[in-house]
């Protein structure tokens, strides 16, 4: 079975902190994604990557950056966390056109 793991299920940070969300997949997928999920807004794509060291902006990249130094790992970085970044963050990897999701990280920014 494909496994996508995220470093934390719950995270509480303060405004202005730098936040790292880590995602690791074990199936050698080239494609990896970061989404955020908010009530009433569904899933919104933040960034995605098709290969190591490659990244592309999704629909809402502002306030975020990403890093893909190794194929299995895709990190989401909040350079300076703000309260409007309180959300559920979902990482996913993909072998083709469908996604395998991690369990999600619920981030609260105080």
């Amino acid at each position: 079975d494909v496994k996508v793991t995220q470093s934390s299920r719950y995270l509480v940070k303060r405004t202005g902190e730098k936040v790292f969300l880590e995602c690791v997949q074990d199936m050698d997928h080239e494609n990896m994604f970061w989404y955020r999920q908010d009530p009433g807004l569904g899933l919104r794509l933040i960034y995605f990557s098709y290969d190591v060291k490659m990244k592309e902006k999704g629909d809402i990249p502002e306030g975020y950056s990403v890093s893909r130094e190794k194929k299995e790992r895709f990190s989401l970085i909040l350079e300076s966390a703000s309260t409007n970044q309180t959300s559920m963050y979902l990482c996913a990897s993909s072998p083709d056109t469908w996604l395998y999701f991690g369990p999600g990280t619920r981030l609260t920014v105080l």
Partner: protein, 112 residues
């Protein structure tokens, strides 16, 4: 513009009753369509997918969906639901730009 529309934000049904969750898409090119399920406090899980071939697609947990090209729909059905089917269901569409577009979700609640 390519989009996915889930017509119902919430669907309440009684246990053992049939259910249909509706999904319509808009696209002028070949489509790949998916349904995902999200149980409380979990990530999304692929329920079923349509890539090509038979328009009736069977998935996990007794769910099935039918691709209807003329109506641009991909409705999800189950003949008899169980309490454990309580979850949020997302229809999704693969676009030629290699991004997957999600619908806004349908929350299925099962009443005993």
């Amino acid at each position: 513009a390519q989009s996915v529309t889930q017509l119902d934000s919430q669907v309440p049904v009684f246990e053992e009753a049939p259910v249909e969750l509706r999904c319509n898409y808009s696209s002028s090119v070949s489509v790949y369509l998916f349904w995902y399920v999200q149980y409380p406090n979990q990530g999304l899980q692929l329920l079923l997918k349509y890539l090509s071939g038979s328009t009736l697609v069977k998935g996990i947990n007794g769910f099935e969906a039918e691709f209807n090209k003329s109506q641009t729909s991909f409705h999800l059905r189950k003949p008899s639901v169980h309490i454990s089917d309580t979850a949020e269901y997302f229809c999704a569409y693969y676009s030629s730009a290699s991004k997957i577009i999600f619908g806004s979700g349908t929350r299925l609640s099962i009443r005993p």
